[in-house]
Symmetry: C2
Subunit: 239 residues, 2 copies
């Protein structure tokens, strides 16, 4: 991609995995709460199961098998199920709510805060995530992430990778799809954005699924940019 | 209002007039474009007529006499009418678009940038404006205003003072109405927010309508706070 691209006006960012390290934060916070309740649980497995359940539940919402519910509601439904499977009883609603809100307190990858700030000098920088508005707002405030605006799948009442979400983003920004670049660590997100005309940047996050994780990091020539982090992305965009 | 209020989690800000000085910017920019076209027009009257027309058109949308259209579309429709009334012909679509986008480039009041930054340290600080998302995003970026999130009437497809707009804001933030304080220079905005349970802060902007303007600055004991600017508001909120 040529430097100083003048066509691109806005960058829209996937958040979970791309901007924040959900797995480490969920494990840390759940372990801490677990210790206070004297629970003996494999919290890494707990985090992975929670995340895997989210994909399944979201797909059921996308297929219309579940009514629309936002991500906090999906997380809460899954948490109830996980606690039952683990035979953990006696948690108060407030305690469960405290655990469910861990998704509002995820930590950013080391380059995220400074990388987004650098990119904001040149582009409109927006979140475009399946997280709901309150989650994204609280998460960003807590992690020190600054956006020009937050766009949530909740506003379209569709989840990515439904094309309605990407179209909503371009429409709300009053931009043509080719003026927007989707930035994500996940190929299916980029392919769906590309299908309606977005530019694409694939950012490698090798640790998203932990040290044992095996994410798909294979560069794909279909994407406009492959970047090792947000500063590399800024470099490649001439920002 | 007692200092260090712990109930309030978020402040939602009206933008036109409360955060930005729409009138001065519209006059300056329209005059500049007018000079390049050798037009002899009373640009102050032009700005006031444009703004007055917006209120009427928005009310027609609210009553269902016009279909939903966002603020950029309302401004564009009114601009065509104003140019016709002033017998100004021969403007290209690009020139008209350039004038219409003046609303994306409004200047902030002198205390707005630093005042919002100060309030953000303590509260979720969100725009809650009839401006559309693109307008608010571009305006904020241009003026250096930073929000935790931007909430636009466009997302509810209702204009303030319809209660749907305030409810949407509380719902998207996952807060109870009493955890949110509406901040505005306009009493009708505050009264509508108060009617569904928001706290209210009345900020005095004596120059919104220019040196000859006569805005209603009378304090009203129904509001929780009356403030002379955003730093005074921060002081009164213990922020």
């Amino acid at each position: 991609m040529k430097k100083a691209d003048t066509l691109i006006k806005a960058l829209t960012f996937d958040v979970f995995g791309t901007v924040v390290d959900w797995r480490t934060t969920v494990i840390e916070e759940a372990s801490r709460i677990g210790r206070t309740k004297c629970l003996n649980v494999d919290w890494s497995g707990f985090a992975d199961a929670w995340r895997a359940g989210y994909r399944q539940a979201m797909d059921r919402v996308r297929r219309g098998e579940l009514p629309w519910m936002n991500l906090d509601a999906i997380h809460g439904m899954l948490l109830d199920r996980l606690l039952a499977e683990l035979d953990i009883a006696g948690m108060t609603e407030a305690e469960k709510e405290r655990i469910n809100r861990v998704w509002h307190r995820l930590k950013a990858w080391p380059d995220s805060v400074s990388g987004l700030a650098r990119l904001r000098k040149r582009f409109i920088v927006a979140a475009l995530s399946n997280g709901n508005m309150a989650l994204l707002t609280n998460l960003s405030k807590n992690a020190g992430l600054s956006w020009d605006c937050i766009l949530s799948a909740e506003l379209a009442r569709h989840y990515k990778t439904d094309n309605e979400v990407y179209r909503m983003a371009a429409d709300l920004l009053e931009l043509q799809p080719e003026q927007v670049m989707m930035v994500a660590a996940h190929k299916e997100d980029l392919r769906a954005a590309q299908a309606i005309g977005f530019k694409t940047a694939f950012v490698l996050r090798p640790l998203e699924y932990g040290p044992e994780g095996r994410p798909d990091l294979e560069p794909d020539p279909a994407f406009d940019i492959v970047a090792s982090d947000f500063h590399d992305l800024a470099e490649k965009l001439g920002a």
